[in-house]
Amino acid sequence: MLRIVNRVVVGVIGLVLLVLGLGALVGGFDLPYRWGFSMPSWWPWRVGGDAVLSEQDRTRWTGEGWWWPVVFAVLALLVVLSLWWLLAQLRQHRLKEVLVETPGAEGETGPAAERSAALLRGRALERVLAADAEELPGVDRARAVLLGKRRRPRVRVGLTLAAHAEPGPEMVRLRTGALTRARTSAGLEELPAEVRLRSSKHRAERVS
């Protein structure tokens, strides 16, 4: 979600900069005159002698009644949105708890289903999963972070491989071992996982 928002906004800002830059370059090099085409009449930069932002352009609407309210609204909106956008980059939506539904809850609705469900602390599940992954022979350190919704959690796992690890088989063992155990112990139908494998720097040495 954040990824899509970021990419759309970054792309739109890039597009605006590109259009403004190219527009100023086209006017600055007198390309409409040299290449025999004409820019629309409202375009500010039509010949090289045009000002970047003339007094007349800047104050064109200042006399109108709607101008200042619109300026204030747009600026205030920009401040709020950019503040929200900035804060969204800094925080991570870590899941605090996972809803564990006991078998009796199946088929029931209403308060009964609510009563037979339990809350599992996210940190506890993360810690168990990480400790379980660290048991693997090729894994030095492991870190797990729960994300998503209480009913549909997903997990991001970071593994630091030990020397002489085999990443492919290690992943199979993680998937069939720690990840499956975490999923079944929390009573989840599925636990989507994103795993990143790193390696700690170590010296080249022989195993004899």
Binding site: R3, V10, L17, L78, E166, E194, S199
Partner: protein
């Protein structure tokens, strides 16, 4: 071919061919391997920088516009900026330079928005639909280096893992270079398969004698 420098290059057949069936003992044969796809960066850093710039600019402008409406003086930077913009021509050098910079920055931002990034992460084969895994290229380099070091005769080895290709340069201080090269090649061949990557990497191995001192 010179006896002191041996080179071999080969490409691996795509997954699903013979090499795949050889490793089916390790991997679950019932789950068909799916293409994992690239990892896409969230582009947090460029987003944070842009957000900070927009926030600073719009906040400052909002404050100053509000101050003017409260019958105070506009800050001097705004008046000098307005004069500057009104007096400079579009064909002056600073404006053209600024416009070029803006256009270039725009292209960079558009490329950032459209490309996946995270070029240091290699996607691993996706054996189950709910688990996605990526291997850092530096980790793949260390794993392969450890394997090449186990070949007898290899004194030192440098492994570079690109996005599609593995290059290994080894120095062998004993044994025939061709034999060492064949062994390093076999070891890395097996090593690449054990990486469990989505797309097979091609391999080139160079073996030579260490420089005489």
């Amino acid at each position: 071919m010179s006896d002191e420098h041996v080179t071999l290059e080969k490409a691996y057949p795509p997954a699903g061919g013979l090499e795949q069936s050889a490793s089916s003992a390790v991997y679950d044969p019932e789950a068909p391997a799916r293409r994992g796809g690239r990892f896409w960066s969230a582009r947090r850093v460029p987003a944070a920088v842009l957000a900070l710039l927009v926030l600073a600019a719009s906040g400052l402008l909002l404050y100053d516009v509000a101050a003017v409406h409260a019958r105070q003086q506009a800050m001097s930077w705004r008046r000098s900026l307005a004069e500057e913009l009104a007096s400079s021509r579009v064909d002056s050098v600073p404006v053209l330079a600024g416009a070029s910079f803006a256009a270039l920055l725009g292209v960079v931002l558009i490329v950032m928005a459209l490309t996946p990034g995270l070029r240091t992460v290699l996607s691993m084969r996706r054996e189950s639909p709910e688990v996605r895994a990526g291997l850092e290229r530096s980790a793949a380099e260390l794993v392969l280096r450890d394997r090449a070091m186990d070949v007898s005769g290899v004194q030192s080895v440098r492994v570079l893992v690109g996005r599609g290709k593995v290059r290994a340069r080894a120095e062998a201080h004993f044994r025939d270079l061709d034999l060492v090269r064949a062994d390093v090649d076999a070891a890395l061949d097996e090593g690449i398969r054990q990486l469990g990557l989505d797309r097979p990497l091609s391999l080139s191995v160079h073996v030579r004698r260490p420089a005489k001192r």
